[in-house]
Symmetry: D5
Subunit: 134 residues, 10 copies
């Protein structure tokens, strides 16, 4: 299978950040900075690598937040999440890191991140972290 | 495809407001102004334009409110929502504007507006705003 | 289609009250008047007429209540709800009237009435009223 | 409840045919008379009267057909179906009559009518008839 | 609401074809021209205008085909479908035209197009056409 | 995030084939070679790269086959499917290649491969190929 | 619990046939004896006794038939099915007997009876019989 | 149908208590008497007789409780519930009596009993009672 | 945890066959040997051991058959299926062996056995075998 | 069935602990010990033996906890849960023991364990325990 000819159609988007450290979470001004409202971002296609076996893990991530002065731009979020693709990382670390990185990027008033990972060995793990703590 | 003959059947309803600014949210008296009760309006066919790409966005809007002295008339609401059809607008702005316009039109005691937008790039965004804030 | 022969089989139940004013909500003694418990009546077949177009509206009504000294008899409730069949009435009025009539008939300690009306013009309306107010 | 004032808003649509005999199924030319294709009309709000008890029956009707030279106009279909509202009729007769009336009105190449009636006494009846017979 | 500043972010994609006549269905070579296999394109966000009332209609379109020498490119299909957005067109015509246009564009060995339109007046219409006829 | 210490726990499984060309589909003898029976392998976690944008695609693959003399070993299938992870490939090519590779590996009597890819731009593509052709 | 006072409200329906032998399946003339159409009767509340343990069994029965000259009357069917209530009978016998009794009562052109029994010991049994055999 | 031969297989369980008064709710010691935990018993096969018509009623009962010193034994609960089978009883009485009998039998710290009865005349009744009252 | 006192309640059923070779599939005479009808046995609680890892596998087995002269007795089937509990066996072998053993035990006219095994490593396997072959 | 040859493929994992007393719940350091977040472990394949009949019981266990200094390692949890496989144990004891053992192993800040057991005799039992008590 030689899809090289077709990749010539590829454009400038054609760069996957190698890790979350190399990705950038862009933001834009909140349209109603004085109103406390919720934004939910449903991301069913998350994937990373298991740090023990090196095999792919997949997860359904859900991010819910009350914006402060800024909102996260969804296209940069897509690139950021894609940057975990070849990173070995434990389930719990992923959820906590996404929470930390989003807090750093946009200083939300409130935020919850959950990750529902695909079952392994008959057990399915979900982790959920929030800021500020309940 | 020439549906001109058939549009002769069209009647006076045949005008889509060009934008929310040109639309009118009509109201009628609340039948039980002294009782605090909830009305939910489920609007699964909302559509607008993405301000970045110019392509259509679609959403499922849900409006819940406790009427004050007046209720919104659903046919005028249908025209009002249709007026976003060719408007470039961000998801968050749409939800907040519908909330603001309904507050202006009918002074509800309480109101919640949510918009669940169709996924783009593997991410699905929902925004929810309310008045007064919780 | 002449079903006259078959209606000869009809018996004394064969009278539909012409309006809620002509219907009677019968009650019977609560079997545990000293205990605060909930009864839910799920009525998915409600129908009335739209007061603007004269066309049928249909709704799924749900009645939840904590009985006081008496409970509503479900067969009389069926006749009562059927009496709205040819009545032009707004969605919000129906829900509030059913609430009022049930309060009058049986003096419940608590009661909630909701009506989920079929969509019209792409918008689906649900109204919910309760006594006493929350 | 005196909705008389509000019905003043009613317009010319405000006439419900008293029976199917008084209703008209209007048709319009099939846009592709040379192509054999299917149209499905899903009608979840049908209601009639039980010829034995005089009480309302409700049903979910589904009409599927391959048009010949003409298609049924859906607004006239809505009025036609509403005309059964106060007609005492057995479930089986309703489904067969709707089939017969649609055949007469538009001479479809093929047509199936099913009616799923709400349960009575713990038994739920569905009838389905087609033309031509399989 | 003045999103003008943000639309500066818009790029060259920012042109919605005014009608299907102005849209182009691009194709690319079938990767297995000698194998008879099925491709399904699920398009839940279709919208057009009702030719009678001028109001928006929405539909869920599904396209299934066995490619011949060429496949339809999904981004051009997205633009093509978006071009119906401001076109007054009957439900049956839309389904048949999409079928005809896809046959013209890529000469599939077999193709089925269905459109499930949102309910109007309590009736929901679905149309399905195929080539070659069964 | 420095998971290096934890990856020390990793064992010999810790090698993801760089592409399908480097992966091996292992097989084992069919336990009932004389009986025509079906095996279904449901693989909801497939991922590859879009050859146009370089971004991840995800899909739900389903493989159904009637084994001949040999069956595919599911752990090797897992590694084989994981080898598409960083490969730019069109949806249609993936489904056809998986079909071809499984035919080569185990000579099934009959086999069907389908891939349901996550939506992009409001359109969701599914491809399905089989051997021998119907 | 002494509901004797309330049973005074009971009327002539107050007799449950002691067994299917004592019940009568009444019929009425088929409204379209010349058309081959299907009637489905969905009976989710069936109950009998296990002949081994004497404990209640419950089942969801579905009866589908093409009427000949006569249809089964659903109220008599309700009484007939209720007559199995205190009868010890094996699952397979029930389904076959209901089939036989309906054939005897109304001579349908075609009929299928299925019974989905509630699980016992982790196994759930469904039996389905038809006439004439496929 | 003469299942007498097969009932010879029946054993000592072959006695259905004639009424709840004749049934016994057996209990066994709570394994963690010092911990406040919940047990839910889902009983979808309940049946009794309507005191007005003498016809069978069916219901889905759910019992939730926090055990005190003792738990109810589920096999004796099965026999107890089966003892309502030929008892004429109103829906509300059944739910309240089951609650009362379980309180008497095992003195739970907290208990909720709900019964969802099958629809009659288009209305479906659910009753729910608890101890101690909320 | 010392459940010894409670096991004193255990009776003669307290023996799990150590393997399918030690289990017996009992049968009883078919009540309608001259009629071709289907019996479905849904067994969602099957468990065995993985022959590679020694860990438990679980599966949902479904058995469908047309009885000949005899039917399988469901309690003996429960014991037979439980006898796989500590047997190392491949998924495909289990389904084929259950098919073979049931053919031997009752000589059905037709039989289908399917087993849907719980996912392992992100892949879920289902096997289905039938007699006679289609 | 002689799977002996294939078990030669088995490796060191091939030991199922004979009881929970012989199993070990391994833990690893919590990656965010200062943050209060939830981990959910969904375990649908649990099985044990009924202490009364000796027959298998199956259950869907769900474990939710807020980690303290350590998290439970899911592979050791899988082995621990599998160790109940041949243990006679009451439903309520299982849920309480899993709770106790997890508290001992990792000292969580908060933990909830529920077990939904498969129905027996028409009754389905669920038990749920938590620490600290609500
Ligand atoms: Ca955004
Ligand atoms: Ca008032
Ligand atoms: Ca309104
Ligand atoms: Ca009542
Ligand atoms: Ca034509
Ligand atoms: Ca039409
Ligand atoms: Ca080819
Ligand atoms: Ca394509
Ligand atoms: Ca295998
Ligand atoms: Ca006839
Ligand atoms: Ca009938
Ligand atoms: Ca118990
Ligand atoms: Ca026979
Ligand atoms: Ca049997
Ligand atoms: Ca920390
Ligand atoms: Ca873990």
């Amino acid at each position: 299978m030689k899809p090289t000819e077709l990749t010539l159609l590829g454009h400038s988007e054609n760069r996957l950040p190698a890790s979350p450290d190399e990705a950038t979470l862009e933001t834009f001004p909140n349209c109603r900075p004085g109103r406390r409202f919720w934004i939910t971002l449903d991301c069913p296609e998350f994937s990373s690598l298991c740090p023990v076996t090196g095999q792919p893990d997949t997860a359904h991530l859900v991010i819910r937040y009350v914006p402060g002065e800024r909102c996260v731009e969804t296209k940069s979020l897509k690139f950021y999440l894609a940057s975990f693709r070849n990173l070995p990382a434990f389930n719990e670390e992923i959820v906590n890191r996404v929470l930390d990185d989003l807090i750093t990027a946009m200083s939300p008033l409130e935020i919850v991140v959950s990750g529902k990972f695909s079952p392994r060995g008959g057990i399915q793990l979900t982790a959920e972290a929030r800021y500020p703590e309940a």
